[in-house]
Symmetry: C2
Subunit: 224 residues, 2 copies
Amino acid sequence: MRLAELSECSGVPVASIKFYLREGLLAPGAPVTARQAEYGEDHVRRLRLIRAMLKVGGMSVTQARDVLAVADDPASDRHERLGIAAAMLPPHVAEPTEGNPAALARWRAVHDELRTLLVDELGWRLHDAAPALNTLTRAVIALRDLGYRCTLEYLRRYATALHPIADKEYLVIEEFAVPDEAIEATVAYTVLYEPIILALRRLAHEDVSARRYRTARLRSESVT
Amino acid sequence: MRLAELSECSGVPVASIKFYLREGLLAPGAPVTARQAEYGEDHVRRLRLIRAMLKVGGMSVTQARDVLAVADDPASDRHERLGIAAAMLPPHVAEPTEGNPAALARWRAVHDELRTLLVDELGWRLHDAAPALNTLTRAVIALRDLGYRCTLEYLRRYATALHPIADKEYLVIEEFAVPDEAIEATVAYTVLYEPIILALRRLAHEDVSARRYRTARLRSESVT
């Protein structure tokens, strides 16, 4: 298909497609004449992923290009490519600098505590530099700094409840047979399902609260 | 305790405490002299919640004040207060305006579809205007617009997996005996545990990927 058709088919404006081509996010089409190129289903799929990363994932063009470079690199094995692509998704949290030894020592203590729980106790196979472990460390420190409890027992409960969900999510990703598509799907589903999970958790809270504090009538009855 | 002590005890700078007092987020202390007031444990707890809402929850001062006004209102029952406080937490998503009839019709169709799944099929007790249902509607439409599948079957799977987690979270909140503290705890845990849940999900993905695509060796062994 030509550029105009690619735009129609993907729902992405022509100007945006040209921008992604210039920025190297989208591979050029097969040249037909000096001014025209032919695009295929690969381009439609890739445009979908680019839009997901930029519009929903809140990634920068540079971050998106880096993730795509990994997804396109045939040198590493599938887990490695999935892992590296996932690792590049924001947020990026770095450990405190050496300039603040107290903060750094505390960071490392919490980081070790979380690693021991997940890797040694629960047997999760995590990269030594797993980026989400940094995000987790920061969140746990923030919670405790505010004086709220965040014990290993709570975290164990969350971890064991979330693992079966993550496992089932891979069933969806595995429906995509081609390895390249699986990597695209991993990136897309990781980012795109986050707001869905948070919204469903809040709705579940509402139900639990209604059941615990309102035995007599449904909340909706009092509103309508 | 005096202002300086309150600052030390809560870890919040004196200037910030004065700002929260001026903005009506924090109740004044009991007057001791014309220029001095006495603060108690209630103030320490309230400061913790204010910091959680502003620093971690990303709420504005106005939003935080509105949530606190509901938490402090003795007129409504406990579920109502918990529900209203939770409803005021960001993000706030509104349905499309009447000016775009096609978008509005689609929005309402997806909204009804989700409501039928959660309320009629799963029996969740939700407010007619449950705000997280709007967030969920927007996320599902975004996913489908990008061409990714988001079937009711997937959503049912997430909903049934997340409900027991939400239920256990209430055990933590119920440890706070005083109703006012329970409302504070609901707001705080709703906001503060979101990054923890997302980080643990990503780590669980890494483990699942390692198990599926690397049977022979651990990823960490290849890195160290």
